[in-house]
Symmetry: C2
DNA sequence: TGTTAGCACTCATTAATAGCGAGTGCTAAT
DNA sequence: ATTAGCACTCGCTATTAATGAGTGCTAACA
């Protein structure tokens, strides 16, 4: 167990390093007003803290920097929740100022604002449509060979895809097709559609529609949900300004990873509701070794919809970011719940 | 006018620099097999070429590098069109291998493949919907207060937006609204819709729809086309690997510009059909000082739809990039024309 | 007269060197 | 238990010198 003095020193080291990005030495620590003992005492304590794994040296005679473990302890035990100042609150509120009814736009806005507020990179995972219910399927012929299928969910999400028509299909038959699909599938969850088409609708189609086999797969494909929800980014290039990324290999691997939606999705996928914090190597990703990721989820009622994350250096302003994320996600949840609860 | 020998030297300097990214000196030039005169002679010629503005020195005793003007001359007069090798052709063909009916996906694919083939950044400007004709407007109520309007064009493009309903609006009335809109607007170009709604449809709506004024603007907004077509990117981070961008300020301003869709749009907006080449400062953008942009347009029939560009360092493989872009854009135009011509 | 050999000069780059300063660990005195 | 003191480490910066790839200019040559 750490003594009070060790805690104090750890906290001051981390606060200082977050601010300066420079290793913190015993002498400069001893000058701080919070600290009333000599640099020699601090050196002894730092030596212990290092042995315990909370801080590290960059070389034998350097000052100390926090380790992942140090940040973890800081985040779990030492963090004083920061009050947002008026300007922050004002900016966050502006996300909801416009009357926007599309979830995606709101979420996208949140990412942008958040990145501006923090100067880090914001990543928002768009609302899941998996559990949305099908409102309506429209099939609209474009020309003799092609038609576009449009599905609309009960949250107003629209998704569409073109497919090829069999030669012989006429308008009446297309309409019949759409009717059957709507009769059978309206109200079903989006994620179940593809399944249901084969299990419950196929037979019906076979009876009523010519060229049934030709069109079945096209339709089924159309109803498939994308492998993951949309990702929205804000401040993708902000990390270029962080001193820890003034190293070409580091920035390159990070930027390349950010461009790869799959790996980003992998990073932010599983999150319990509330605030989730992954520090440095906890992210299990070499490109993220010097980064922390803080994620907050948003919901409608109790149903978790998506998440908003901040990606910053491990030397991140945890307190501020957590406060902001917490605030935004609560607001987002409240607004969305009010808008969409109990359709 | 340049002598043949000067042309030869200019060409060899540029070819060498494109390959090596290092200033080219007289001695190393004299060793090339194409060149059969002494380094002293070359120095004299280079001195002239510099005076004429085709090449530059990085410092008083350095080798020469091509200037923007040098590249421009090279591109306009010296470029030998390069034959694509089998592998390139194969990869380009793969863009069209899948049976995809959505223009946007094809264009997006082109950008990705092109960036992989060149290791530069590819930017595709999606198909313009401005001149598409309206196929159908659908209005689908989501709940008591909101509905989603969906418009479909004759090319299968779908665009949708949610809007708020007046309290008193019932289903029948919504349907009536949709019918009026379809009657009046089907077949009109997308860019004219917003206008027409106010000029030609407003009166009709006023007569038949309660709360006409409430809904008019919502509908009109929905029919507004976005300020510019979609942009698709490939290889956004490729420029990080170019030696000319191993400078933090440069890479930062370039990446930041790439993230700003507006400025990218500004760069690639106006292009005559065919291949367009902008070298370095010709782009009129400080972040692009060390970049060239080569753009090819694609069309359906003779109607220009969009463009595909390659953004690379001024020291770019012009010959190869031009060949690739030319090839892809022709293919794209051919495929699209075949698919969509004369709906 | 166009070409080339030769030479003095420039400048980026690299390696070696030294001094500075911020830091440490350890020891001994308080 | 705390602290003053001291030797030591190491990154950083500046200086210097050597190297080498390049230049421009001049004079000789074909």
């Amino acid at each position: 167990m750490l003594t009070d003095r060790q805690l104090l020193i750890l906290q001051v080291i981390i606060d200082d390093f977050i601010q300066s990005a420079q290793p913190v030495g015993s002498r400069s620590l001893s000058k701080k007003e919070e600290i009333s003992f000599s640099s020699a005492t601090i050196r002894n304590e730092m030596s212990d803290l290092e042995e315990l794994g909370f801080i590290e040296k960059t070389h034998t005679s350097s000052g100390r920097i926090p380790s992942d473990k140090g940040y973890r302890y800081y985040v779990d035990h030492l963090l004083a929740p920061q009050k947002l100042d008026q300007e922050d609150v004002y900016k966050v509120k502006s996300i909801f100022a416009e009357r926007i009814y599309e979830l995606e736009k709101i979420v996208q806005n949140s990412a942008r604002i958040l990145s501006e507020l923090t100067n880090y990179t914001a990543i928002a995972l768009g609302p899941a449509v998996r559990e949305n219910k099908l409102k309506k399927i429209q099939i609209i012929p474009i020309n003799k060979q092609t038609a576009v299928a449009i599905i609309v969910t009960d949250s107003g999400h629209v998704q569409n895809r073109m497919f090829q028509l069999p030669e012989t299909m006429d308008l009446g038959e297309l309409e019949k097709l759409a009717n059957i699909l709507n009769d059978r599938l309206a109200g079903s969850s989006i994620e179940s559609l593809n399944d249901k088409i084969y299990k419950e609708v196929a037979l019906m189609l076979r009876q009523h529609i010519n060229n049934y086999d030709f069109i079945l797969h096209s339709i089924a494909d159309t109803l498939l949900i994308p492998s993951h929800e949309k990702l929205f980014f804000g401040g993708k290039t902000n990390m270029l300004s962080q001193p820890e990324f003034h190293d070409f290999e580091k920035i390159k691997s990070l930027m390349t990873m950010i461009e790869q939606e799959d790996s980003i999705y992998e990073l932010i996928r599983k999150n319990q509701s509330g605030i989730n914090i992954k520090i440095g190597r906890e992210n299990n990703n070499t490109a993220m070794e010097n980064c922390s990721l803080i994620t907050a989820t948003y919901s409608i009622g109790t149903e978790q919809l998506g998440s908003i994350s901040i990606l910053g250096p491990t030397r991140m302003e945890y307190s501020r970011v957590i406060s902001l994320l917490d605030y935004i996600s609560r607001d987002l949840t409240a607004v969305l719940t009010k808008l969409y609860q109990g359709n």
